[in-house]
Point group: C2
Amino acid sequence: MRLSRYFMPTLKETPSEAQIVSHRLMLRAGMIRQQAAGIYSWLPLGYRVLRRIEAIVHEEQEKAGHIPMLMPTLQPADLWRESGRYDDYGEEMLRITDRHKRDLLYGPTNEEMITDIFRTHVGSYKDLPLTLYHIQWKFRDEIRPRFGVMRGREFYMKDGYNFDVDQENAFHAYNRHMVSYLRTYERMGLKALPMRAASGPIGGDNTHEFLVLADTGESEVFYDSAILDLKFGDRAVDFDDKAACQSIVNEWTAPYARTDETHDPALFDAIPEERRKTSRGIEVGQIFYFGTKYSEAMGATVVTADGTRVPVHMGSHGIGVSRLLGAIIEASHDDKGIIWPEGVTPYHAGLVNLKQGDSAADAACEGIYAALAKRGLTALYDDRDERAGAKFASMDLIGLPWRITVGPRGLKNGVVELTSRRTGESEEMPPEAAVDRLAQIYAGV
Amino acid sequence: MRLSRYFMPTLKETPSEAQIVSHRLMLRAGMIRQQAAGIYSWLPLGYRVLRRIEAIVHEEQEKAGHIPMLMPTLQPADLWRESGRYDDYGEEMLRITDRHKRDLLYGPTNEEMITDIFRTHVGSYKDLPLTLYHIQWKFRDEIRPRFGVMRGREFYMKDGYNFDVDQENAFHAYNRHMVSYLRTYERMGLKALPMRAASGPIGGDNTHEFLVLADTGESEVFYDSAILDLKFGDRAVDFDDKAACQSIVNEWTAPYARTDETHDPALFDAIPEERRKTSRGIEVGQIFYFGTKYSEAMGATVVTADGTRVPVHMGSHGIGVSRLLGAIIEASHDDKGIIWPEGVTPYHAGLVNLKQGDSAADAACEGIYAALAKRGLTALYDDRDERAGAKFASMDLIGLPWRITVGPRGLKNGVVELTSRRTGESEEMPPEAAVDRLAQIYAGV
């Protein structure tokens, strides 16, 4: 994309309404615009990151054998009356009346609807195991929306639901989700730690939250620093293999890691002192096993091998897709702006022309732009007639992990500059070498 | 995908609530499920087609230089009070009050919001031309939702908005949209004819609708059959070239083609009688030029080269993404079920194992399944322990354009059967040849 043709309304001033760094940087980088309290437009740059995160979530869910579908944003109130949550949910539920005076609501989550779909179409244990998920806009009418997309009202969430014939199989589904989430977050460049948590309005005893450590987190967390050394990497996982999934879950749940809601000081104090850590954390996902809570209330049953009819065991599993943009920025930025991990960057590289209009510089930029495209890499080419300083400041603000700088002086020596946004280090090399280097870097992402 | 692990709840009975064939077939094929009047869940098979259509729309919009972003589903009522449409819109607008008693609405379209974004961030003619678009869920509270996703209440739409410094440039944006839409529909296997139309509540004099000819269409249309012979093909288009775009628009607007709202019997009668056609049509898109209607009302202006400040010229351009599934089925089905065009099929091929459990048949199916995947082709593999007749009926119902049938008898002669869903014709060939043939077919899609 050429910046001269793009719509990326960066701001010089720091917006006064933003209290935390990710909110400030998303506004300054022209990624979002508030349309009402807690309701945002995703401007082109923000939308690209949102789509990238969504794509990673889809890929990892499908690898785990979970099936994508899509439920609507609006739901009939009657489904929630069946489960008993229509009255329980309180003012965070956005209730709506249509022209025929029928009660609808903007879905904050989908346990009722998916259970309704299941009970309509599935009746035999032979159709299990089954995990369905969707990524859809949700609404929670927060009393005080704040922190930009981190605590918005209209937000984008992946929520998945497993249906299993018994607890043992449902626990495997739970483990499968934990494993797939570990890889999902790691691909986004995030260290998101699974922590024992409390279940809240979803219900159920078994639940883990995934938390990103950041000073601005809303939760207090307690953990054994040994968990920070774990790395998922690109290990192959057979998601049908119960023992293999359990072993990965054991690996990540062995070190102590809990939120303030489940914190156990006695267990915590048993950790060697130098590994005992307290921090703030941002919740970016949660998995639940809640057994037959909804299936019993709503009559979602299957016939088993021996002919008896039993309510299915269920769990639900969420990833806060829109919130993740904020969490990633909280975890990865500096004074100059955002630093995108390679896995979620909106463009693979920035391309800065130091002297727009200089025929050698213009030609070299066009050549690099085309060469990157040929390798499947996207560049944001700053082809505006601006000072170099302003171009660098824009690139640093929006945080593309790599920048190629092209100027007449370097070109006389046959070189351009490749700069890492994270380290700030630059290296001179011929244009082709810079393209090769980027192709190598992104081949591993 | 292996059918034994999929969730595709096909129905044997024809649902009584469905009045038109696309609605019946989408229900029977397990693609959608109604959650409330005019509000649908997209079950896995339906969701795959929806995503495929969405991907084509994105690709063609980006080729035309239009920039993707995303506006929220809910909008503040105040924006619509500014344009004057809050009161005009009537009962089709779903009005919502949040916990703080603020007026929101579920967006039926986005002229106001995009104009607000523009006026906040853009002030100079140098930033033009600019076309922003998004694909987002909309809501229109139809008094009588019907025909499944063809006239739902919650529906998925691409809407794009161009901002130009004057009418001449805005007309070019209009033409650019017509050209990109022609290719978009053709890639979906649709003949969607641009017809002069009336503007309705959006406003503006210049507008074309795109209509798919089908008996169940809600509009009456009148056209010169010469327009049916036009084909866009894979011609290269420079979307910056005003003359080139105008010439394509001229080609498609030369033959008479109008809806009943703009029909001119005198002009129609001047067409040679054998080319004079009347039919029903399904609207699948519309483009508008409405000039300064919203920019004047809302103060969206730019400073021109000579320093004066002028309201921008705008247009809006929509494609009914969710509706397209219905329209494609209306245009492409037979007594047995859906016939997906190759461009939008949920899976590239069906794979039917005539004798599940037979080691040769099982091994051949696994081999073909893997070989297709290696070529980037997706198969829906019916690995259930079912009669051949039931497997064929399912495949015919869901309408994958190609089917590979594998059985012990054929394998003894080293062949499988490749069948076209459209023609019903089958050909025997070695498994590798069937895979090659499919790769060839889809290379051109």
